[in-house]
Amino acid sequence: MNSRRQPDQALPVSAEGLGKKYRRGWALRETSLVIPRNRIVALVGPNGAGKSTLMGLITGLLRPTTGEITVFGDRPTGKGLHPAVSYLAQQKPLYQQFTVTETLMFGARTNPTWDQRYAEYLIEQAAVPVDARVATLSGGQRTRVALALALGKRPNLLLLDEPLADLDPLARETVLRALITEARTQGITVVLSSHVLAELEGVCDHLVLLHKGRVLLAGDVGRLSADGTPLGELALNRMRQAAQEEAA
Amino acid sequence: MIWASWRRQRAQLITLLGMVVIGAGVITLLRSNMIDAINSSQLAHCVTQAIDECSAPAEVQKAFRTEWATPFQTAQILIIGLPALIGVFIGAPLFARELEQGTHVLAFTQSVSRTRWMVSKLVVALVPALIVLIVLQYLVWWWLTAAGALGPRLNGSFNPVNFGIDHVSPVGYALFAFALGTFVGVVSRRTLVAMTVGLGAFVVVRFALSGLVNDLVPAQRREVPAGSDVDLRQGGGLELEFGWLNASGQPIPHDKVSALIQACKSTPSGTPNTQEGFLACLPQSGLAKKYTSFIPESQAWQVHLVDAAIFGGLAVLLLVGTAWALRRQS
């Protein structure tokens, strides 16, 4: 497998006929999509649309029921994250009793590709006190630490599940700006899910809209909203339309 | 409100009901099997008579006891352990789970008062648990009584295990364990902490206080002259004190008594004393009378009542504490 040795040549994510069924039913159905390199992808959709399932499939935490998915040309094994992928779950799991320094140390011990200098730089940028315990940090600071942990691994693909939920507007803006700066300067592909479309406006250049386990809309933002329709309105209208079709 | 509490406790209540049904079935079956065994081994008259009056061969008796020892013990352990189980699985999670999951906020922001909410939860949880306990306790008593002197009853009412499963004592312990569980639950706000700490505290307190009751019930005192060979403890009962008095009726210290008795066991010439010589020697050495204070078997019910009152009283205090903690809970 040539692509294995040269992940740079392969697409961050490519899925073909991907489906995932739980006992309760299909969470994701016949999903085919491609996520190009160096994009900031907004993954949006109502609750239960399959956003977390898709993220789980990309990380390999879940196994597909049907179809196929490749991450940088490799099929997620289910044994662990692809070395080039970082994943930040919605709850931002961190050890509450650890200090920030200890958290970074934890990152260094668990990631072979860890870049301590870079992680420290990110913490410094966030102005988070390094000897403070995680439990005492504010929501915004905690997100920054979790982000440093995810980025310190030097990933090529960063998956963020609702990274901005429970942050105040200013913290949202700051976190988002830091994230974009890093993604742009480091050439990282970022996939972030969010409910709040308004704040992804002008940030994301690629949109994946899921609804009831299917892709409603996917592609380059510039192309999707060629007539200047704001992203949020575009997605909301498409979702309303889908809901109406369903009711009919 | 009662319905809401009932619905939330439903799983536990169904478990309790299951316990009663299974318990009743098993005990009834065991009891009838046991009676068959007694009849077929011709031990029936040994049930009501004292052990030395039982005419059945010793090996038959022994075989019966060996065979039934485990079922008897299991039943006793069940009744001894049930209060602890009620405390751990019903008392401790009752409020701790609500506080842990934040669902108390739902109740606190409706129009019922916190006290009414608490009382309805307590009643719905506690009453069925107590009924189940009493029913199982009665069934076990019914079974063990059928075994009479062939079973654990032989050891008398004051045997710690027998005492713990008789009369109102289990109810007292259950009340205490339950109240302790709820209190620790409200204070710690953690189900797991409440369950473990509650259990630990219950076990410690239950055994630490088990002797206390004996000092609170009026004991009987009996004295006999040193020379006589009468058994002071007629018909069982619980001996609290035993000792010797001198001629003027003053108690003699135990170490001195043992020295004097040791001295009387041999004649002045150094040869072992005869029984008569020994008995005659005692009053001469100053050991005038033996005395004992004890609680007779017939007064066991008083001891049970006091015991239940102690644990019940503690339970009430703890419930008041629970109510107080809940009122200032946020």
């Binding site: 929501g139 105040d168 | 934040g102 922001t109 409706q110 200032r328 946020s330």
Partner: protein, 285 residues
């Protein structure tokens, strides 16, 4: 009679003051946006008003009755964690909450739940999506027929469709019954259409309190050259600066001096300006 008043209210958790010296009065019939940075004390304030937390100092009154560890019969509270019995079905939950209330409108609850797209009455509450969970919780809050509705982050973890639906339910309540609403939220873009009063707290203290239109009219955003910042008159709330340009948020601003462009801020930039000021205060403290 104000639905909610606070007089010098403070709440201390061990050594930290979550709310401090907070005084305000919410006028009847308003829809109030309670905003502020994370950890500003918004939740504590709402929980105190609902009688779940006792103030360390001062007093809160709902409908002129002191809140004394008990929720006023005319007040409903939506907790941030939604606090519902998750092991019950929706039908059972409705019955349980109805049983806990003296005044209860089953029709209202049915109506609100009816607005939800296909909520299954026999589904366990715990299996509902976050959006449906919030909407069920709001239905429970409205079943009490409140005159004051306290909502702690009603919109967080809702998808855009569910947010729209939820706001519609709340606004219908306001239209029908003139209910006063106080809601905390971080989603300023959603608050703009629905709120007419703002209460901005920071570090547990009230920073801005008033009718949104009036508050906005009192403020100005001025954009101009950094070098001439001293010519601007008014109370500076906060500023962002590049090498040459300064963007200032001012309170009680005078007309903009020569070379400066002045506009009235929108709600979002106003709140952001105050949040920025709060962060600067905190990092310098």
């Amino acid at each position: 009679m104000n639905p909610l008043t606070a007089t010098a209210v403070g709440k201390r958790y061990r050594t930290r003051w979550a709310v401090r010296d907070c005084s305000f009065a919410i006028p009847e019939g308003k829809v109030v946006a309670l905003v502020g940075p994370n950890g500003a004390g918004k939740s504590t304030l709402l929980r105190m008003a609902a009688g779940l937390v006792r103030p360390t100092t001062g007093e809160l009154r709902t409908f002129d009755t002191p809140v004394n560890g008990r929720i006023h019969p005319d007040v409903s509270f939506l907790a941030q964690n939604r606090s519902l019995y998750r092991d019950l079905t929706v039908r059972e939950l409705t019955r349980a909450v109805a049983a806990m209330n003296d005044r209860w409108s089953a029709d209202r609850v049915r109506e609100v739940l009816g607005l939800l797209a296909g909520v299954d009455y026999d589904a366990k509450v715990g299996t509902l999506s976050a959006g449906a969970l919030t909407q069920v919780a709001i239905a429970m809050a409205l079943g009490r027929l409140p005159r004051l509705l306290l909502l702690d982050e009603p919109l967080s973890d809702l998808d855009p469709l569910a947010r729209d639906e939820t706001l519609r339910i709340i606004m219908t309540e306001v239209a029908d019954r003139g209910t006063t609403v106080v809601m905390s939220s971080h989603l300023l873009s959603d608050l703009r259409e629905v709120c007419d009063h703002i209460l901005l707290i920071d570090g547990g203290r009230v920073q801005v309190d008033g009718d949104i239109e009036e508050v906005l009219a009192r403020h100005r955003i001025l954009v101009g050259p950094v070098a001439e910042e001293s010519t601007v008159e008014g109370t500076l709330v906060s500023a962002t600066r590049t090498e040459r340009q300064a963007t200032l948020l001012l309170r009680e601003a005078r007309p903009a001096p020569e070379g400066w462009a002045g506009t009235e801020p929108d709600l979002e930039s106003l709140v952001m300006g105050y949040l920025r000021a709060s962060r600067e205060r905190r990092s310098s403290a």
